[in-house]
């Protein structure tokens, strides 16, 4: 007995000195807010080539040609954040930290919706708590119910007093519960509006949510970056400047803003760089840069513009996006509200990126933009929202809802032959999932649509 117990003491050294078994709520909040912004970037980095904001400088690049790619890292990061949020919600619930709980629910809803919008059916109900090692896939439209329910719960939790207020560990709002609630309503409006092509679309419900949403650009949900960790789009621009090529602008985006399809847009000069000759020249997606050299002859992201400032923000959900949602939802209910929201959306985005007031007015006064309520169409909303949502992954949801019908929008060159001459409608399930949870992974093609796109 003595022998056994002394031996046990000698061998009792297996407590991990490197990793703690508990995480503080603040630590989970910090990582979840930061990684949510990163996920918006990670997803936008892929979808920006699909919606032709960006184009690869190399011909037939898989990013442009809509090839079947395995986005294992994105998948891991989306589920990584959702796992941490799951833990944060459970721990907050235990300790009565209802603001942490509410913010967790809102971020969980956002990350889940990004996942569903990209992949369709995905695991959720059997996820995170290790009930099974092969979680089943839930239906995409059922998961939307979950998204909306999480947002409602978040609103309730954040509307009450809390024993433990959130503080600077929250990279989005620094613990401002009121703005978290507005953020939840804005997201509610976004996801209800995704249903525009389905029978269950309820534009009135979208407008109701918007009424409780953001009141101005100051409410925008965004994460500003750090001296220690630069904004990821700034990183793309700096790397490109150092000839690690990336962030080249698609000819589609140039033509949408340089006046080819209408009025010249002052935002062009604030969002992308010019060539050495001061020109704005894009690359045709899938075609590559042709005989152009690596620098100076095409427009690219350049450092220190609005989206590429080292300590600048990654935009998660914004007032201007909300305005375009409002314009779309109100279009058949109250056209003058719709038109006003459209004008406000353009204005909010222009102010956000720093267009001088005079130029904003000039732009809005041009007949192609300020066409008046009567001539105003749904196409105008989508075209203007396309410019405002630059680099944001929501643009790919819009493109699919709009069937990629933007003016001048063509299939990329060297299109993936599996697509039979059509645009991509979803991501393939990543290789990691296919090899680890293969029995449950649905058999889908890149042309199979997410439920709201059917």
């Amino acid at each position: 007995m003595l022998l056994a117990s002394s031996c046990d003491d000698y061998l009792d050294i297996n407590d991990n000195p490197n990793n703690p078994t508990q995480a503080p709520l603040a630590g989970l909040m910090t990582n979840s807010t930061f990684e949510t912004a990163q996920n918006v970037f990670r997803l936008g980095d892929i979808t920006s080539n699909y919606v032709q904001y960006l184009a690869s400088p190399n011909p037939a690049s898989s990013s442009d040609t809509m090839e079947e790619s395995s986005f294992d890292n994105l998948w891991e990061n989306l589920y990584g954040v959702m796992t941490d949020l799951n833990d944060m919600i459970l721990k907050a619930e235990e300790t009565g930290a209802n603001h942490y709980q509410g913010a967790g629910q809102i971020l969980l809803a956002l990350n889940l919706a990004m996942t569903v919008d990209s992949f369709g059916n995905v695991p959720f109900s059997q996820s995170f708590n290790f009930e099974t090692i092969t979680p089943a896939y839930d239906e995409d439209n059922g998961l939307y119910t979950e998204v909306l329910s999480l947002l409602d719960q978040g609103i309730v939790n954040l509307s009450q007093e809390t024993v433990l207020p959130v503080d600077d560990d929250d990279f989005i709002y620094g613990g401002d519960a009121e703005r978290w609630v507005k953020f939840a309503y804005m997201l509610k409006a976004r996801y209800l509006n995704h249903l525009s092509g389905t029978g269950s679309y309820d534009p009135a419900a979208v407008l109701t949510a918007i009424d409780m949403g953001f009141d101005g650009n100051a409410d925008d949900a965004q994460v500003e970056y750090f001296d220690e960790e630069r904004n990821p789009w700034a990183n793309v621009a700096i790397r490109n400047e150092n000839l690690f090529l990336g962030g080249w602008i698609s000819q589609q985006f140039i033509e949408a803003t340089n006046g080819t399809f209408g009025t010249a847009d002052p935002r062009l000069f604030l969002l992308v760089g010019a060539t050495d000759d001061g020109q704005y020249v894009g690359v045709v997606n899938g075609a590559g840069r042709g005989s152009a050299p690596e620098a100076g002859a095409r427009s690219t992201l350049i450092p220190d513009q609005f989206y590429t400032t080292e300590t600048g923000p990654v935009l998660i959900a914004t007032y201007f996006e909300q305005k375009f949602i409002e314009a779309e939802a109100a279009f058949n209910i109250n056209k003058s509200r719709s038109y006003q929201a459209y004008i406000d959306g353009i204005m909010a985005h222009m102010r956000k990126v720093g267009v001088p007031e005079g130029e904003i007015q000039t732009y809005l006064n041009s007949p192609e933009v300020g066409m008046g309520e009567a001539a105003f169409t749904m196409d105008d909303i989508f075209e203007e929202k396309y410019i405002a949502m630059f680099l944001n992954p929501e643009a790919w949801v819009d493109a699919r809802r709009y069937d990629y019908k933007y003016e001048g929008f063509d299939l990329p060159e060297n299109l993936n032959p599996d697509l039979n001459g059509q645009f991509i409608r979803r991501f393939a399930y990543p290789d990691s999932e296919r090899s680890r949870n293969g029995q449950n992974v649905p058999d889908v093609s890149l042309l199979d649509r997410i439920f709201w796109d059917e």
Binding site: L11, S432, R436
Partner: protein, 1030 residues
């Protein structure tokens, strides 16, 4: 607990110390029967004890011996003799020369010497000459092809790069488990781990590479569980028992050896040399694409000065190697010593890759009195070099244009010359450095106390301490207009690894001769092992002053720290019974306690039994049948795991702190709270047959081992909230046959030919995994657009299966798991083959057959030898070939502008007749073929790159000349001199198209050997060596 054991032993000691047998001094001389020459250095041991001596320069010995004891005389190259001590005081012995030594002595557990004939299991010895002859600087590589059932694979050709050794197949399914045997030097285990670089592979060393091969006297390979039961969990995969050289009684001997070697790539893939830079057949000297342009003829119409360089051969160098070593040894009756110093400097074939090793060793033994012997061994090694990122180097060669000189890589201002935006690999190799320096001390003390003639006490304590300092630098921009820097920020990473192993082993041996025929030996012991290691990484990014690389002058710093400690305690017993030199029985039992498993599950007991029967002693056999033995064994071994695997934890990612906040995330690994030890059960049957006075010998072994309750980090879906789940899952079965054939076809005064052939066949099966888990992904390697290759464990299938996408086959079963290559390929309506994106089994990366053949010839003063080794029944993922197809580099892509009808059938089963063009863009038929066949189809199918990786190699060929007395007589003090020339890997015969298939990117520490990666190319080498003895 350890103290308890010591106490117990001391009590026993006191009780028995009263009983002293009568001792007497025996003297004598040992001579050779053939020529009556005296034999110095002969081992004289009192049978069943560690008590003994060696003969002096004149073959004389003196030994205090209890009455009734038996003296065993043994000497390499001679048969053993046993002489019973009755009442004589002088015992002169003649030994008979016998290179095929019947009673050869092998070193088994804890440095215990045992006669081979007494063993009930297979052991194979490799001697000093076999090791030094290979000129391999890594002792693991030196074993290649020399032992049956032992698979040694170099992970690549980099200086100092790790080599992996696997005995009788893989026992643990865990992709990170060390399936390699335990390395034991002079009775004390040492660390042979390989710590690869994070990020891009750089081919670091396995720690046994720190050993100077010239210090080794012999290596014994203990293959089965039976042989290793006494080392416990750490030897669950077998053991390599290394004995270093000792001084011999007599005059001081000095040996100096110098060698110089040169090496180059032994095999290149087949490249196309027709098409140059550009895409879609359009020439573009700035294109990212190196080889999708027009033919060189067309390019010269545009640019008459354009040239086609073989950048692959141009980028490589001739490697060099200088090896100098020096040793002194000597001794007298009561003490002996051996000391050595060596230095090795090696430059690799990839520019700027190098490695070196400087070692010093002191071995000594002191006999304090008749009963008490103290021995000590200590070595100090400094090793390390600049580790070029071979994977990145080779990948960048893929992207670089053949239309520019790859060696023209730097501008006058120090910036890189880049083409098509691609990094020049030589510039990167030169400036992105990764240097490691290992300072290592291994040492042990051994105390032997002969309590009486039938009992002795041994205590061994050893330590293996090393510090591994690594500095990795990637420069940022130099601040020169228009430069393409290697990194937009630049960074420095300082890594410090400290590791200390402590081993303590106390055992008592009790020997009893019951009568003339029956002898028993009982050994009881306790051993304790502790490994304490720590790693600190500090990374500084964005240098304030370009080219001033110091953590203090970096804009951002991030750190990480990892501490690990593990303890193991074991008690064991070992009983051997010998009857009439005919029947040998050995029973062992052991219990281990480990710190790495949950208390309650951390104690495990395992027994073994083995039996040897020399039937030629028992029955009358024909004269030509010199010796015959059959043997059988049954053994169990337990196996624990790494520290800190149990339960769920959180971690703070390296990126924090940010804005004064520290973020937390759930750690991706979850360890089963009820984790228990793995268990291996092994049975072995074998026979050892010798004929014609040992001129011919055959040793055959059959074995089967089952390892169950495997501790595996099962990669799980990220959607579970974890990435890996560590649990007991699964059982693997290895079975196989090993055969060793030894022959001396010619033997006369001037000429002698010895031949050894070994071959082994191994078959394994994953018997079961675990309820709820059908497959476990062991690892995967990148392939473009669906051509990734996977190693996946599937119940009922073999270990090492490679999975991936394939050509759709007509009539293939929907739920088939194996690719059926005999079925016709399905061709789509567009005329191109259809891809099957389901992952099917495309091959297996575990060799079915391995083996080798060594031939030694001696003619007068000359000796000549060669060693061939082979492996068969093995496939690997050829990642090079995948890149070469995607970038139009392989010879195969020469048909890029041809039109063809793919052989196969349409979806309805009718033959395909549609003619298609393989090229890019618009074909002769006016159709747009996009990026062309190779990019649209060929590169996207794993099947195309799972290839037969079998080989036959002429591993080594050596010609030596030993200077004879008539020459040596000129310089009086020179006792021996030898000149030799050796060549390694000069013949490689393989169906594999690529660099040497003996390469894998995981390094020796990993089990994902199915992926060739962009490995450091294998090399062939030639060495010139001069050795002088004084």
């Amino acid at each position: 607990m350890k103290n308890k054991i010591i106490l117990l032993v001391i009590l026993v000691l006191f009780q028995v110390s009263a009983i002293f047998a009568q001792q007497r001094n025996i003297t004598g001389q040992v001579t050779s029967a053939e020529d009556d020459m005296t034999l110095p250095g002969v081992n004289v041991i009192v049978k069943g004890t560690n008590q003994g001596t060696v003969t002096d320069m004149d073959g004389n010995y003196t030994l205090s011996v209890p009455q009734g004891a038996t003296l065993v005389f043994s000497f390499i190259g001679f048969g053993n003799r046993e002489v019973k001590v009755t009442d004589q005081l002088v015992i002169n012995v003649t030994l008979i020369e016998d290179l095929e030594d019947l009673d050869e002595v092998v070193v088994t557990s804890f440095g215990i010497e045992r006669e081979t004939k007494a063993l009930g299991y297979a052991v194979q010895e490799i001697n000093a000459e076999d090791i030094s002859r290979t000129k391999q600087q890594n002792v693991v590589s030196a074993l290649q092809g020399q032992a049956a059932g032992v698979q040694v694979t170099n992970s690549g050709g980099a200086p100092g790069q790790s080599a992996r050794i696997i005995i009788r197949g893989v026992n643990s399914l865990d992709p990170n488990a060390d399936n390699q045997p335990l390395f034991v030097i002079d009775g004390v285990p040492i660390d042979n781990s390989t710590i690869e670089s994070g990020g891009t592979p750089r081919g670091l060393s396995n720690r046994a590479a720190d050993l100077n091969p010239n210090d080794i006297e012999s290596m014994n390979i203990l293959k089965g569980a039976a042989a290793t039961a006494l080392y416990g969990v750490r030897a669950a995969n077998g053991a390599v028992i290394i004995t270093t050289k000792k001084g011999k009684e007599g005059v001081v001997r000095v040996n100096v050896s110098s060698s110089v070697g040169f090496e180059k790539v032994n095999q290149y893939p087949k490249f196309q040399e027709v098409y140059g830079q550009g895409f879609g057949g359009v020439y573009d000297p700035d294109s990212f694409w190196p080889n999708w342009g027009p033919s060189m003829d067309d390019i010269r119409q545009i640019d008459p000065n354009a040239q086609f360089y073989d950048i692959w051969r141009d980028a490589m160098r001739t490697g060099t190697q200088y090896d100098n070593s020096f040793n002194i040894s000597g001794g007298n009756k009561n003490a002996n010593f051996y000391t050595s110093i060596s230095n090795l400097d090696q430059e690799g074939i990839i520019p700027f890759s190098n490695w070196g090793r400087t070692s010093a060793r002191l071995n000594g033994e002191l006999r304090l009195n008749e009963r008490f012997i103290v021995a000590a061994n200590i070595s100090y090694v400094v090793s390390g070099g600049n580790r070029v990122p071979h994977d990145r180097f080779m990948e960048r060669l893929v992207y670089n244009t053949p239309n520019a000189d790859i060696n023209d890589y730097i501008n006058e201002d120090g910036t890189m010359k880049s083409r098509g935006g691609n990094t020049n690999p030589i510039y990167d190799a030169r400036f992105s450095t990764f240097k490691d320096e290992v300072n290592r001390i291994t040492g042990n003390l051994r105390f032997t106390y002969n309590v009486s003639d039938w009992m002795n006490l041994n205590y061994l304590i050893g330590t293996d301490y090393y510090s591994d300092s690594r500095t990795s630098i990637t420069p940022g921009p130099l601040g020169i207009e228009g430069e393409q820097p290697l990194s937009s920020t630049g960074f420095i990473t300082e890594t410090r690894i400290n590791s200390r192993d402590l081993n303590s082993n106390l055992f008592v041996t009790i020997n009893k001769d019951w009568n003339e025929k029956l002898n028993t030996t009982l050994r009881l012991g306790n051993d304790v092992f502790e490994r304490d290691s720590e790693r600190v990484d500090a990374t500084g990014t964005d240098f304030v002053i370009p080219q001033f690389y110091d953590l203090s002058y970096a804009s951002q710093i991030s750190n990480s720290q990892d501490k690990r400690k593990k303890r193991l305690v074991g008690v064991y017993g070992d009983l051997t019974v010998d009857y009439a030199d005919m029947l040998f029985l050995n029973v062992t039992a052991r219990n281990d306690w480990t710190s790495t498993l949950p208390i309650g599950n951390n104690s495990f007991f395992y027994p073994s039994v083995n039996l040897g029967f020399v039937f030629t002693e028992a029955f009358k056999s024909p004269d030509f049948f010199t010796f015959g033995k059959i043997r059988a064994s049954y053994a169990e071994v337990g196996k624990d795991t790494d520290p800190y695997l149990i339960g769920q934890t959180y971690t703070s990612p390296d990126i924090y702190p940010l804005g004064g906040q520290v973020g937390f995330t759930r750690f991706g690994q979850f360890g089963d709270l009820n984790l228990k030890p793995e268990r291996t059960t092994a049975i072995e049957l074998g026979t050892d047959l010798r004929f014609f006075e040992n001129r011919l010998g055959l040793d055959v072994t059959w074995y089967k081992s089952n390892s169950k309750d495997q501790i595996i980090p099962v990669p799980v879906s990220n959607t579970t909230g974890f990435t890996t789940f560590i649990t007991n899952a699964g059982e693997i079965e290895n079975s196989g046959v090993e055969m060793i054939l030894r022959a001396t076809p010619i033997k006369n005064e001037d000429f002698r030919w010895d031949l050894t052939f070994n071959a082994s066949y191994n078959k394994n099966e994953i018997v079961s995994i675990r309820e709820g888990i059908e497959q476990i992904e062991l690892g995967n390697q990148f392939g473009y657009s669906g051509s990734r290759a996977y190693m996946i464990l599937t119940e009922g299938e073999a270990y090492g299966n490679l999975y991936g996408t394939s050509y759709q086959r007509f009539g293939a079963s929907e739920d088939g798991t194996h690719l059926n290559e005999d079925l016709p390929i399905v061709i789509g309506a567009d005329g191109f083959p259809v891809r099957n994106t389901d992952l099917l089994i495309l091959g297996n990366s575990t060799p079915k057959w391995i083996g080798g053949m060594s031939n030694n010839f001696r003619y007068k003063a000359f000796d000549f030898s060669f060693l061939i080794d082979f492996r068969a029944g093995v496939d690997q993922y050829n990642q090079y070939d995948m890149f070469f197809a995607a970038f139009g580099i392989s010879e195969r892509t020469l048909d890029r502008n041809e039109t063809r009808v793919f052989e196969g059938v349409l979806a309805d089963g009718t033959p395909n007749t549609k003619e298609v063009w393989l090229g890019q863009g618009t074909g002769p038929d006016g159709q747009n073929y996009g990026a062309g066949f190779y990019r649209n189809t060929y590169r996207r199918l794993t099947e195309n790159f799972i290839q037969d990786a079998a080989f036959i190699k002429l591993r080594n060929i050596t010609l030596g000349y030993n200077f004879q007395d008539n020459i040596l007589g000129v310089v009086e003090f020179v006792k021996s001199a030898r000149l030799s020339v050796a060549a390694n890997n000069i013949i490689l015969y393989t169906p594999w198209d690529g660099f040497d298939p003996e390469s894998f990117s995981a390094g020796a520490g990993g089990n994902a050997t199915g992926f060739s990666g962009l490995g450091y190319p294998g090399v062939q080498s030639v060495f010139f060596t001069f050795t002088v003895g004084f």
